[in-house]
Amino acid sequence: MASNSAFKKVRLKTEPDEADLRQLAIGDVVYLDGTVYTAREGVYHRVVEQNVPLPLDLPAESGANFHCSPAAAITDEGEFRMGAVTATASFRFSKWIGQWLEKSGAKLILGKGGMSSKDYREHFVPHGAIYLTTVGYGTGALLGRGVRRVKNVHWREELGLAQAMWVIEVENFGPFIVESDLDGNSLFDRENAKISEGLSKVYEGTKPAVLKRFGETDDRSDELI
C-alpha cells in the first residue's frame, strides 16, 4: 500500500478568509471547525428560482455549504438525532451554483465528485470559493463523529428531512480533499487526464457495439457530467 504521510493535513474554519484558502493546494486533506449547513436542489430551487429569503444569515452564520442529506431523525420531542453524514454528487447543481454563491456568500462547497472546470472558472473563481470533496465515498461515520450538535433545521416541513437545511456545528470534521483551488484548478481533471492516456490500450481488441446509441462517444476522455 502507498504511504499516506505525503498529504498535507489542514484544519480550516468554516468562514475562511482569502489567505486561509490561498495556502490550500489540490490534493490537500482538510478538516473543518465551525458551522456548516446542508443545501441542495430543494433549497436552491426555493432560493434561486422562487426568490424565497434565506432562513438564516449567510455567510455570517456559515460560509460552508454541504451537498448532503444526513441520516437523521427528529424525535417527537423535537430533538435532532444525527447518525452518518455523506455528500451527494454535486454536478447536478450546476445550473444554480453561480446565483447560489452570489446569494449565500459561500466560500466552501463540500460535496461528492466536484463540479466541472467550467463551473470553477465561471462561478467559483470570481466568488473566491473552493470545492472540497468528501472521501470514499463515503466516510459517513467518520464525518458523523465530527458533528458536535445540530443547531437548527430550516424548511423541514417545506422540503422534508432529506432536503431541509440542517445547520450543524462541527469540530475536526473530515476528511475532505481539496478538489478545486482559488485559481480553479481541479484534482479530478488532473487525475482524469492521467488515466485517459492509458485507456486506448485497455480497450484494445474491442469494437464499437453493432447497434449505436444517440449521442454516443468513443472518446473515453469525455465525462458524463
Binding site: 463523529r145 488515466i195 474491442t206
Partner: protein, 320 residues
C-alpha cells in the same frame, strides 16, 4: 408457524446490521485490494474507508450518510407456514423499514419521482421493493435486506450475438470508466453483470449478481466463472482507483448471471454495489429461532433452474 412478531423484529435487526456492519467478505476483499494499491490518493481513500467501517461499528451509526434504498429479498422454503401469509409478511417488512429508518436513523431517501413527496420513512408507492423466491425443501424463510445506492454505476445495453464476448467486455469497460470518473459509482465495488433474459430480467439478474453473491463466489458454469475472474482483472487494469484517482482499485469481485434470451439478442446490464455494500440476512426457522448471516445464499441450483420439472416437487409431498 412463523409469527409476524418474529419476522418484524428480525427485519428491524437486519436493517440495523445492513446499515452499520460491512459484510466480512467485502471487507476482506477490500483489504486485499488496499494492500496492492499503489496510487497514493486512491490508497488514502481506501485507508479512510477502512477506518470508517470501524467507526460505524464502534458508534453503531450508519457507515454512509446515503443509506441507499432499502429493499427486501424473501425466500420461502416450500413448507414454510407464516402467520398472516405472504401479505402479512409484506406488511411486517414495510413496518420494519419505516420504523428502522427512524430508529437507526437512516436517511429518508425515498420520494415520489415527480412530486418529490417524502414520507420520511423510506416507504412509499412501490417502495421498498419486496421480491419473493422459493426453495423446494424446508419450512424456513430467509430474509435479506439490501440497501443499495441508487444513482450511478448501473447501465443496460442491447447487444447482439455479433458483438460477442469482446462486445460484453467493451460495455463492461464503458460502464466502469464512465461512472468511475470522480468516483461516482463509489468504487471499488462488487460488479454484477446480467446477460440475456429480457430487458427487465437482465437488469434483475445483474442487480442480484451484484447484491446477493459474496466476494469469492463463482458461477457454476466454469466458462462463466473464468469470465468473472477475467473481468475482475480487466476492471482493475484500467488505471483508475477509488474516487477516480490514479490506481487499480475498481472491482472487488465480478459476478455474472445469465438467462435464456431471444435468439437474436444478447442483453447486458452492469451494476456496481458500492464501498458500503449493505446487505444482511437471516433464516427464521419454523420454531421461531433466528440465524443471522451476511451471505444471502440466493443463487442455489433451484434459482438457476433450467428445466421444466424439479425432482423434489409436488407429487411425493401430496401423498404424504
Amino acid at each position: 408457524m412463523i409469527l409476524l412478531e418474529t419476522i418484524q423484529e428480525t427485519a428491524m435487526t437486519l436493517m440495523d446490521k445492513a446499515a452499520i456492519d460491512i459484510p466480512e467478505d467485502y471487507l476482506s476483499g477490500l483489504k486485499r485490494t488496499a494492500e496492492v494499491e499503489d496510487g497514493d490518493l486512491s490508497s488514502f481513500v481506501l485507508q479512510a474507508m477502512l477506518e470508517n467501517y470501524e467507526a460505524a461499528k464502534e458508534d453503531r451509526r450508519a457507515m454512509c450518510g446515503d443509506t441507499g434504498c432499502p429493499r427486501w429479498y424473501v425466500k420461502m422454503a416450500n413448507d414454510a407456514n407464516l402467520e398472516g401469509g405472504p401479505v402479512g409478511l409484506e406488511a411486517a417488512l414495510r413496518r420494519a423499514t419505516a420504523e428502522a429508518t427512524n430508529a437507526i436513523p437512516l436517511r429518508p431517501n425515498r420520494v415520489h419521482p415527480l412530486w418529490r413527496t417524502d414520507h420520511d420513512n423510506n416507504v412509499g408507492i412501490n417502495a421498498p421493493e419486496i421480491e419473493f423466491a422459493f426453495e423446494p425443501e424446508g419450512d424456513w424463510i430467509d430474509l435479506t435486506t439490501v440497501h443499495k445506492g441508487g444513482l450511478f454505476g448501473t447501465d443496460y445495453r442491447m447487444l447482439f450475438p455479433a458483438d460477442g464476448i469482446e462486445g460484453i467486455k467493451r460495455f463492461f469497460l464503458d460502464s466502469l470508466v464512465a461512472f468511475g470518473k470522480r468516483g461516482l459509482s463509489c468504487q471499488p465495488a462488487i460488479i454484477g453483470i446480467g446477460v440475456g433474459g429480457s430487458k427487465d430480467t437482465c437488469m434483475v439478474l445483474g442487480k442480484r449478481a451484484a447484491c446477493l453473491r459474496t466476494v469469492g463466489d463463482r458461477n457454476p458454469d466454469p466458462r462463466i466463472a473464468e469470465l468473472e475472474v477475467e473481468f475482475k482483472e480487466l476492471g482493475n487494469s484500467i488505471g483508475m482507483g477509488a474516487m477516480g484517482f490514479v490506481g487499480k482499485s475498481m472491482v472487488i469481485d465480478c459476478h455474472i448471471e445469465v438467462g435464456y434470451c431471444h435468439t437474436g439478442g444478447m442483453q447486458m446490464s452492469v451494476h456496481a454495489f458500492c464501498l458500503s455494500s449493505r446487505r444482511a440476512c437471516a433464516r427464521i426457522h419454523a420454531d421461531g429461532s433466528v440465524e443471522y448471516r451476511t451471505d444471502p445464499q440466493w443463487f442455489t441450483p433451484y434459482q438457476r433452474r433450467e428445466t421444466v420439472e424439479w425432482p423434489a416437487t409436488a407429487p411425493s409431498r401430496k401423498s404424504a
